[in-house]
């Protein structure tokens, strides 16, 4: 028989930073849902991928979709680590559903989540407005492009690598940043976020 310790509730860290059960479960299901949405997208819209396949750096424009889980999770849960946790789990789901392969997607998920997480940290997990959302998307986009240039595109010429960073950043800001922010606003109005500060307060 094995015993694990529960997360200790120390008086040191403020309560605002502690994960409740509902935070963890909603973050987890959210990541899975984003994975399912991506599966549906790649099943129904494979034409887009073929199109960008002709000139691979264009794929960067498409990558913002992979970054939604982290930014969206961070904006809704508002706890340290939420962006990383959601992004890693969404990566695991896409591996299981067969839209991405290999253990490396977990590493990629971590790096992309970290890109968004650092932006939320920069604002000390206090600001959740549209600007922060766009920046988090940008952070995730840059993290994605730089890591993929190192891991996968290392043999591309430098100018193509830079182009990839540019496209991924634009995509991160627009798709992961803006769409996530709009989604959170819409979700707050439906009342499903009533257990979360994100659903009770206007963005601030």
């Amino acid at each position: 028989m094995a015993l694990t310790k529960a997360t200790p509730r120390t008086g040191m860290s403020p309560r605002r930073f502690q994960w409740r059960v509902v935070d963890i479960v909603v973050a987890s299901v959210l990541a899975v849902a984003v994975g399912v949405i991506f599966f549906a997208w790649s099943a129904g819209y494979s034409g887009v991928q073929l199109l960008t396949g002709a000139f691979p750096p264009l794929l960067g424009l498409y990558t913002g979709g992979w970054l939604i889980a982290g930014v969206l999770g961070g904006l809704i849960i508002r706890k340290p680590g939420a962006a990383i946790y959601c992004e890693v789990l969404a990566a695991a789901v896409s591996a299981l559903l067969g839209t991405q392969f290999g253990l490396l997607v977990l590493l990629s998920g971590f790096i992309q989540g970290l890109g968004a997480e650092l932006v939320f940290l920069l604002f000390l997990y206090r600001k959740w407005n549209v600007g922060v959302a766009l920046l988090a998307g940008l952070g995730a986009g840059i993290a994605l492009a730089v890591s993929e240039n190192i891991l996968y595109n290392a043999l591309w010429s430098v100018e193509y690598q830079l182009l990839y960073v540019l496209f991924a950043s634009v995509s991160g800001v627009l798709i992961a940043g803006l769409l996530s922010w709009l989604a959170v606003r819409g979700l707050a109005k439906t009342g499903v976020l009533s257990s979360f500060a994100a659903g009770r307060t206007a963005d601030r």
Binding site: L3, R20, K189, T190, V192, S194, S195, G199, R200
Partner: protein, 497 residues
């Protein structure tokens, strides 16, 4: 914590109230209640009177100051519920959102694991609990493969493995077919007889539990307790009965009043017909139903009945032009098709909404916009009906279905009954000649039920055709028309009601 203790729990509410964080008003307040160990209590009240909130508080899962503001106190055996984890076991309404794990045995073990019960003892309890609820399946059976009634009995077993002294059931049978309702109710009774645990159950359909409980408590809509006593006394009291009836609670021996049925109408010419129809949920999946033949004349009602999982909903989706027929045909007569072609599955969305309207079981699946009024206007707009024409129509519909005061509310924030009324209104806004409804009365209170029946009867009298998939015998009887019974892969019409 004492392992294996099954002593029944006493529950006390002392001027108790709760306000959810971010909401202006209290969800429930002024509750004074003492429940003796081993008592069996049915908790009633209008929707919004805070029954579920009270159950969550007794289960100790309402949260703390971050989630809301508490007034007064609630105690289990003299202590706050959160300090007595595992003494109260909660079963919720929706079977699919309370199953945690993938295998039956693991699911039952989960609660006991969380209470740090030693593993050998856990597996003893798992077998005992599954026995108690009469769920005779292998421990490694997938939890997704169970029927609705089995899932709810699994949820009950999962709670029982914690050996709770207080069972809290929040509308545990509202989502089940009649067979599932009986299964779950009987399992609860068997368990209570063995463990003597205290019971608090919330349920709209009083008849299910009236013979099981020894006390009925009615929460007032404005706070406090309206009535409290033995079932016969509370449910027999005319004043209480009228309050409960007004709140939409289904009281035994009472049926919601209906306007007189419109005179039977001789059905008109055929609108829609199915011949040798086989239906399947997905393009490559197996056919769930084969060889269905039916004819739907103008001004008729048809109820599709049968056990869960028999393919009723798939048949309805296919008749509604949303799924392609696997084999055979669904054909619309020229009066219905109006130039769009005979096969409804090939119609574009904008054509479909003006010909066949579908009302899904979960209204939320059909919500597309941010306000009720946009929701009502969406169909007419996508069908390019001019605003001068749909404006008055939408207004009249909102009036008829009592949605006028909600026009600018977000559809997702409505109550269950309001959502149901909205989902029907949105479909009617484009005036389809055929209406297909999937379990329209599921989980509805008596008020919404009566309203729906009245509305649908009116539509049939106007000459439209109404097809309903339903488990609700009262509904089928009240609506009249034909009955198609679906059973194990095939469908046959039974005598018209």
């Amino acid at each position: 914590m004492t392992v294996g203790s099954t002593r029944p729990v006493a529950a006390t509410a002392d001027g108790w109230g709760w306000r959810h964080a971010g909401r202006p008003g209290f969800a429930v307040r002024g509750v004074d209640l003492h429940i003796e160990p081993g008592e069996r209590v049915l908790l009633l009240g209008a929707s919004g009177s805070g029954k579920s909130t009270l159950l969550s508080a007794l289960a100790g899962v309402l949260g703390d100051a971050e989630e809301g503001e508490q007034e007064g106190r609630i105690l289990l055996d003299g202590e706050p519920p959160a300090a007595r984890r595992g003494r109260a076991g909660l079963v919720l309404q929706d079977p699919d959102s309370q199953i945690v794990l993938a295998r039956v045995g693991d699911e039952v073990a989960f609660g006991a694991e969380n209470l740090s019960v030693p593993p050998p003892e856990i597996w003893r309890r798992v077998r005992e609990s599954l026995d108690d609820v009469g769920l005779d399946v292998p421990l490694d059976r997938s939890t997704s493969a169970l029927s609705g009634g089995q899932k709810q009995r699994l949820a009950l077993a999962a709670v029982l493995a914690m050996r709770p002294g207080l069972l809290l059931l929040d509308e545990p049978t509202a989502n089940l077919d009649p067979q599932g309702v009986t299964e779950v109710r009987d399992a609860v009774v068997r368990t209570l007889d063995r463990t003597n645990a205290t019971l608090v159950v919330v349920e709209h359909r009083v008849a299910v539990w009236a013979d099981v409980v020894d006390r009925v408590v009615v929460l007032g809509a404005g706070g406090g307790i309206l009535a409290d006593g033995p079932p016969a006394a509370v449910l027999g009291d005319p004043a209480t009965r009228s309050v409960l009836a007004a709140a939409g609670v289904w009281i035994p021996g009472w049926r919601p009043p209906l306007a007189e049925a419109p005179g039977t109408r001789t059905p008109g010419p055929e609108l829609l017909a199915a011949r040798g129809l086989s239906v399947a949920r997905t393009r490559r999946g197996p056919a769930v139903l084969e060889g269905v033949g039916l004819s739907l004349p103008e001004g008729s009602a048809l109820s599709i009945v049968g056990a869960n999982g028999s393919g009723k909903s798939t048949l309805a989706l296919t008749l509604a032009g949303l799924l392609r027929a696997r084999a055979g045909t669904v054909a619309a007569a020229d009066t219905l098709a109006r130039g769009a072609g005979a096969d409804p599955a090939r119609w574009k969305s904008a054509q479909l909404v003006q010909r066949i309207g579908s009302v899904f079981q979960d209204p939320e699946h059909q919500f597309l916009t941010g306000t009720v009024v946009q929701e009502l206007e969406f169909g007419p707009r996508s069908a390019r009906i001019p605003a001068a024409e749909y404006g008055p129509r939408v207004e009249a519909l909102a009036e008829r279905l009592r949605l006028t005061h909600l026009l600018h509310a977000n559809p997702f924030t409505l109550s269950g009954g309001e959502k149901r009324r909205l989902s029907v209104a949105t479909v009617l806004a484009t005036r389809p000649a055929v209406l297909v409804l999937d379990e329209p009365t599921f989980g509805q209170d008596a008020g919404t039920w009566a309203e729906l029946v009245g509305l649908l009867r009116g539509l049939v009298a106007e000459g439209r055709s109404v097809v309903s998939v339903t488990h609700d015998d009262d509904f089928t009887r009240a609506l009249g028309g034909g009955i198609l019974e679906v059973r194990a892969g095939s469908a046959r019409p039974t005598a018209a009601a």
